[in-house]
Symmetry: C2
Subunit: 250 residues, 2 copies
Amino acid sequence: MAVGLEALPHMTSHPGALLSCADCAARRLKLCAGLRMDEGKLADVAPDNPTLQMMPARRTIYSAREWPDYIYAICQGWATTSLALPDGRKQILSVLLPGNVESPLNMFEPRIARTLETVTDVLYRRFRRETVRERLVSSSDAIDAIGKIWSEEHEQSDQLAVDLGRRTADERVARQIISLVGRLQRRGMMQDRTIEFPLRQRQIADITGLTPVHVSRVLSEFQRKKLIQLEERQLTIVDIDGLRRIAEWR
Amino acid sequence: MAVGLEALPHMTSHPGALLSCADCAARRLKLCAGLRMDEGKLADVAPDNPTLQMMPARRTIYSAREWPDYIYAICQGWATTSLALPDGRKQILSVLLPGNVESPLNMFEPRIARTLETVTDVLYRRFRRETVRERLVSSSDAIDAIGKIWSEEHEQSDQLAVDLGRRTADERVARQIISLVGRLQRRGMMQDRTIEFPLRQRQIADITGLTPVHVSRVLSEFQRKKLIQLEERQLTIVDIDGLRRIAEWR
DNA sequence: CGGATAGTTGAGTTATCTCAAATGCAGTGG
DNA sequence: CCACTGCATTTGAGATAACTCAACTATCCG
């Protein structure tokens, strides 16, 4: 199961394109042990191989008003799911990275949906909800695959609730950074100690339940303490232990 | 589908026992349209009809360290699921009322579990995770049933995140009250405008991400404003519109 | 070049927390 | 039955984390 990156000839054949080749990413995600393989799983479930679609940065793929007929798998780029209150307050519920899947809540029942927005340019595939659902009935592998996606989603939302309800601003921001770094690292999207970090402070605020102004202060503080470095949308981890100490300890 | 309460002879035959007869409650939940019918659904999925078990108030049914082998359905009483941090901070993730189901996250994968604790004395049934899982494979009705439970759970956690991340203390407390009142009302567990309300302020604090002291102040304020009345673990809604105004508006 | 969006920083405000003391109630052991 | 201990709640006083407002700069985009 522990298939390493080097086991994929397609990838090593154009290393420079490692992060920009969506199908390469998809295969990598599917083959590497320990990765989120949601997109791969979903492709197994609904193997009609939908074509890749593209959405520019900062657009809405679907909004909470609609009833999405599809389940979306991110192949490249970053996206978020969120809910907004009528007065403009907004909470981001998850950050989707390549390989992640947004599985609509209303797979089985009509319910309120989240809003799915792109952060960067995004390549994605979409799978008909009904197709996936029908497939669940006939294939136990499909149930397993989707079940794992749900389990993981569920655990993420539990963590989010604990963070929002019981952690300080510093902890929340530090944890979010650590979490994203880990996820990207597992995807092979970290070089040395730095990652692409396209999130605006406004978005970090919406993830952590803070104001953009406060996020700016926290990030400045982290940089002043030499925990991270952040410039030109590149995030470098300078002192991971220091960051962990803030994130997990009170 | 719209089978009313009066359609159940068993219930009307001992109206006084309406709230204390677990099997009565189970049947009611299963038959009345518009109710959460999770327990009923689960019984359909795993029809080996497990016996009723009992746990006194304020005990832990299982803790986050364990790997529960069972899915729990509450038949009578109140329970909570929660996660705790090492330093004692704690976040309650859901309040379970009769008919609700705690579906372990690790149905498909080994993951961190929540802690399941009783608030009042609780009667519950438990269903082997493996049994339910096997049943999912063979029955599309079962998938539907469990799928609906998950959808609902998922929506609840989204709402929780928005509440914790983006709402004020007053809003959170008011919304929690409104939500609980609604759920009990739909179960026929509200008489006139009052409900049994066994939650301690400490628990309300752990649900809303506040301190017990602040919860006390908010509740006192609500009573001073004649929105609710609260004594001897009985909660009376005095001014539902006022409460709604606080809950939804900023 | 102009106009929007992003981020920084300071000053003052406020929602919520912490600490502490007082009260009541429930359960326990003698 | 009583004294005792521990939890739950209320209330005050003071502290603080995070917010709001505002001004300024930098950056991006057409």
